[in-house]
């Protein structure tokens, strides 16, 4: 199946939003409280602006080559060899992210909803479901993301507002402590993964509808930064800085303490919607692997590719289940690939494309 899908700018906003916020919301307050303390909002905003630049480069590239995706225009820019290198890199990268997300989902489901269900059953069920959605293509996914994204955004922001109302203002004050500045470098490093995922736009072919995509995408990244700040500050307001550091799933723990009208178990209420974000993350990762694989193996039918990817995911997840501290390993080693995929590859392609265009123009002028 060829990639003739397209998305609107609004759909793109929700794809970026759900891809980036997949799991970050749950342990982000702990990570930030540990590193930048009460001044966390500063590194979050810095990283959101930097990744904003990254996403502008990707959208510009996509707009320079409308109706094409990375696999197509990369061949025009850097040739087949580099293109295949990039695509293989992205395939492996998204496969590992997919495994990480699926294991996170299994852990979350097991600790909150299905304590007695064997993990492999959840994996089997999840992979089948996500595979089916990925098979449907990016346009259908984007339509679903619009609904999921809005509900997830409203519920999460609503809970954050309740946290601000019920929390202690002095827990988040002062907004800036000069002694936190020396920890900003570490905080920025920790923020790379929560902002990683912008490269997902490489699987979306842009059309005339996406002319203003660069501006929209940049603003989306800034808004995601604000969204993260709300989550971090809300959790610290409710739990206090020490409790936020001590609890792994600090955002969920903070939600448990929030008083909400009518709803007694706020955590279960949130998880119902929070899980949609995790599902969305896995769907888009599965879709990314599928789209790259479909391009690489153009002769193989899409459903066959989806099934093979599903089996590969399942096997890798089973391996992942048996690796101790998989999450820590992922967090330690995923930063560099995230930077490569978000900045190095897009910047290289963009620079070469620009140079080529300039050379072509010069050539034309010379001929005239």
């Amino acid at each position: 199946m060829s990639l003739i899908n397209s998305v609107t700018n609004r759909q793109m906003v929700f794809i970026i939003f759900l891809t980036l916020t997949t799991y970050s919301t749950i342990d982000l307050p702990k990570i930030m409280a540990e590193t930048a303390g009460r001044s966390s909002w500063i590194p979050i905003l810095i990283v959101s602006a930097v990744f904003g630049v990254g996403i502008v480069i990707i959208t510009k590239l996509n707009n320079m080559h409308q109706s094409k995706v990375l696999f197509d225009y990369s061949q025009e820019i850097v040739g087949k060899l580099f293109t295949y290198m990039f695509v293989v890199f992205f395939l492996i990268y998204f496969l590992i992210i997919g495994v990480f997300l699926k294991l996170k989902l299994v852990a979350l489901l097991q600790s909150n909803f299905l304590p007695n269900t064997p993990p492999f059953v959840m994996l089997l069920f999840g992979i089948t479901l996500f595979g089916y959605v990925a098979y449907k293509g990016i346009t259908n996914i984007a339509r679903g993301f619009e609904i999921l994204g809005i509900s997830f955004l409203i519920i999460t922001v609503g809970i954050c507002i309740l946290m601000f109302v019920g929390g202690m203002h002095y827990n988040i004050l002062p907004f800036y402590n000069p002694s936190d500045t020396k920890k900003f470098a570490e905080a920025i490093k920790e923020m790379i993964l929560p902002f990683g995922g912008i490269e997902i736009l490489f699987i979306i072919p842009f059309t005339a509808k996406n002319k203003k995509a660069s501006k929209t995408a940049f603003l989306t990244l800034l808004l995601i930064g604000v969204f993260y700040i709300l989550i971090v500050e809300g959790a610290i307001m409710i739990l206090g800085i020490n409790n936020t550091i001590a609890l792994n799933d600090s955002f969920i723990e903070a939600i448990k303490v929030v008083e909400m009208p009518i709803i007694e178990r706020t955590d279960v209420f949130y998880l119902t919607f929070g899980l949609t974000s995790l599902f969305a993350g896995m769907i888009i990762v599965f879709a990314a692997v599928t789209e790259f694989a479909c391009r690489m193996f153009a002769k193989v039918k899409r459903h066959i590719i989806v099934m093979i990817i599903g089996v590969v995911f399942f096997i890798l997840c089973l391996f992942g289940l048996n690796i101790k501290n998989f999450n820590e390993l992922f967090a330690n080693y995923a930063t560099i690939p995230a930077l490569v995929s978000s900045f190095l590859i897009p910047t290289t392609l963009f620079t070469v494309a620009k140079l080529k265009r300039r050379a072509q123009r010069k050539g034309k002028v010379a001929v005239e």
Partner: protein, 383 residues
Amino acid sequence: MIKKNLTKHIKYLLLIVMAIPFCMISAGCHDSKDINEKLIATAVACDYKDDEILFYVEFADISKRQGPDGGGGAEYIFVKAYGKTLPEVRANLNNQIDKPIFLSAVRALILTESFANEYFVEYLYRFRADENYRKKIETVITMDDLETIFSTSHQKEESVGFMIEGLLQSQAELGKSFSRNTMRVIENASGNYTGQLIHCIGMQEKEIAITGYSVIDNNKVAGFIPVEEAKGVVFWKADNPKFSYIVPYNDINLTIEVELKKRKMTASYENGQIGFDIKMEFDAELLYGDQKTPYNFEEAATKEVTELLTEMLLKEFYVTVEQSLNKYKTDYLQMDDEFRIRYPEAFEDMDWKNEYPKSEITISVNVDLSTTYMMDYGAVDVK
């Protein structure tokens, strides 16, 4: 045609592949337990006597009170367990019960002074690490015998856990006390400076009551402020504190309700001297007198009564500050937060426990007194 059939088959195959794991997920619920098959804990109490830790866990036995329609209340019982360490006591407790414990319904955590002096932090961290507990439960300290508290309440078919939760929440809503869930207690206990106040409960006749506030310093009980002497503290810490004062004026004892309108604290730090400037604004309402209802209260009289009330309040606050600075040398008024917010770097470098008692605190009080406007509907003829 063949292609269409194939797609159809693939759809069926996908459906089956999805249905099988769904059945298996459902199978994961096979060993789920009905709530009746669990012991619902409503309060946990800890004591330390003769080098041994004692746990008292209150359970709601809903099965004994169920009517034919399935409704009905609960009967409360408690189980007591001993041990040398916290895990040992818990293991001993488990050995005495026939069903697994459901901890998510616990409403209150009660610690005796002796237990708090030995295990305050350890127990709170244990609580925080156990995800089965609701983190917004109340933590209180008691000087009374735990067995007496439980048996007296259970004789009246009352739950100690629910009673304490209701008591603390209603008092906070009425403006007679401040609220402080266990997560806030743990947050304070985990910080660089650990001074705080925790509600102290006890038996008054046969009722559980807030008897005062235990002063916690360095994660040990350092003192006790009786509830009668704690108005100043509550004005300092509660969200909407409101108390009645009796002001003697021209042979009449005037009852005045005083409500805190605004509280502003400003920290200063000059030449190594910590200072706080506290400004409190109150709305006061003259309710009644003990001899003659003071109708048509003149402006001059209002001014005089306001001055008398302001003086009373000021005196109360200076006693509160004096107690905190000199008697207990503990910042349970949480002035450290104000100072930390204003001078974060200086705060990090100082030992607040040593510096706080040296601080200078000035208080100013502003009272806006008004008389009650009442309408006697009985005196009006409705036509």
